[in-house]
C-alpha cells in the first residue's frame, strides 16, 4: 500500500471504530443484550484472531510455508500455557525465530 492509501486506511478504520463505540452508547441496551448477539460477537473475535495467527505464521504472499515462524509460535504457545505475560510471550517468539535464522534455518 502507498503512504496515501495507508493514511486513508488508518482514518477510515478509526472512524468506523468510533462510530461503533458511539452507536453502542446511543442505542437501547436491550437491542444488543441478546444471547445470540453476544455469542456471535465472541466467536467472531476468536475466528478473526485465530485466522490472523495462521496468516502471520504460515502465509508468505499467496504461499503456505513452514519456516522459523512455526517453531516460534510453538514457543509462544508453551509460554502462554505457563501463564507468561504478553510481552514475554512476544519476545520469546521473536527470539526463537531470530535464533533459528541466525543458525541458518527458516
Amino acid at each position: 500500500m502507498t503512504t496515501t492509501m495507508l493514511w486513508i486506511t488508518v482514518l477510515l478504520a478509526s472512524l468506523a471504530s468510533f462510530g461503533l463505540k458511539l452507536a453502542g452508547h446511543l442505542i437501547p441496551e436491550h437491542w444488543l443484550a441478546t444471547q445470540r448477539v453476544q455469542r456471535t460477537s465472541t466467536l467472531v473475535t476468536v475466528a478473526l484472531l485465530v485466522s490472523l495467527v495462521v496468516v502471520q505464521t504460515f502465509a508468505d504472499g499467496a504461499l503456505v510455508v513452514v519456516d522459523a515462524r512455526v517453531p516460534a509460535l510453538a514457543v509462544a504457545a508453551v509460554a502462554l500455557a505457563l501463564r507468561a505475560p504478553f510481552i514475554v510471550v512476544v519476545v520469546l517468539a521473536a527470539a526463537a525465530a531470530a535464533g533459528l535464522r541466525a543458525l541458518g534455518w527458516g
Binding site: I8, S17, L20, A47, A72
Partner: protein, 217 residues
C-alpha cells in the same frame, strides 16, 4: 494493568512500523482508533499485503465488541453531549471491565474514567516509543519480529479459547484460512473465517450466559 498496557503498546508500535506504517500513522492509529485488538488486526492485514478494504473491515469487525460494551456502560454512566462522546472513545475492554466490577454509581464512573484515561495515556506514549524503536531496528526478520506478530495474536485469543464452542470455531478458522491463502487475495481469508463464526453463532444451540470478555491487552 499499567505495566501490561505499556509493554503491549511497545509491541504494537514496533510491529506497526515493521508492517509498513510510518511512525506518524502508528501514533494516529493509537490516538484515534484506540482499540488494541483492532489496531493489531489492521497492521496484520497490511503486513500480509491486504487491500485497504480488507484492513478496515477486519479491524472494524474485531472492534464490534466495543459496541456491546458501550450498550453495557452507557446506562451506568448516564452522560450527555461531549462527555458521552469522550466516554464512547474510551469504551474498551479495560474501562468496561473496571466499570462493571464496581458496586456504586460513583465508583462505576470513577473506575471507568480512571481506567479509560489511564490506558489511553499509557497506550499512546508506549505506542510512540515502540514505533520509534521499530524504526531504528532495521531488518525485522533478523529480529524475528514477523514471528512476534503471530505470537501477539495467539496471546490475544488464548484467554478466549476456554469454551468448547470457541475451540470448534478456532479449528474451523484455521482450516478456512489455510485453504484460502493460496487462492484468495490477502485479507480475504481472515474475513472468510469471521463469516464462518457468524454462521456458527447463528446456528449453535444456546449456552450459559457470559458477560464482557476477558482483558485483551
Amino acid at each position: 494493568m499499567a505495566v501490561a498496557t505499556g509493554l503491549y503498546g511497545i509491541s504494537f508500535g514496533a510491529l506497526a512500523v515493521v508492517a509498513g506504517l510510518t511512525v506518524a500513522q502508528t501514533a494516529v492509529l493509537s490516538l484515534l482508533l484506540f482499540t488494541g485488538g483492532s489496531q493489531f488486526a489492521l497492521i496484520g492485514v497490511v503486513a500480509a499485503g491486504g487491500s485497504p478494504v480488507a484492513a478496515v473491515a477486519t479491524s472494524t469487525l474485531l472492534g464490534a465488541r466495543n459496541m456491546l460494551y458501550g450498550a453495557v456502560v452507557s446506562p451506568l454512566l448516564s452522560l450527555r453531549g461531549w462527555r458521552r462522546a469522550a466516554a464512547a472513545h474510551l469504551t474498551i475492554d479495560e474501562s468496561t471491565a473496571v466499570a462493571v466490577g464496581q458496586r456504586t454509581p460513583a465508583a462505576v464512573r470513577a473506575g471507568f474514567w480512571t481506567a479509560g484515561v489511564g490506558v489511553f495515556v499509557l497506550w499512546n506514549a508506549f505506542t510512540l516509543a515502540g514505533a520509534l524503536a521499530g524504526d531504528a531496528l532495521g531488518d525485522p526478520r533478523a529480529w524475528g519480529l514477523d514471528a512476534a506478530a503471530g505470537a501477539a495474536f495467539l496471546a490475544l485469543v488464548w484467554p478466549r479459547l476456554a469454551e468448547r464452542r470457541a475451540q470448534v470455531v478456532a479449528g474451523l478458522a484455521v482450516v478456512v484460512t489455510l485453504a484460502l491463502v493460496p487462492v484468495a487475495p490477502a485479507g480475504v481469508p481472515v474475513l472468510a473465517a469471521a463469516a464462518v463464526a457468524v454462521v456458527a453463532g447463528a446456528v449453535a444451540p444456546a449456552a450459559p450466559r457470559r458477560t464482557t470478555s476477558e482483558d485483551d491487552r
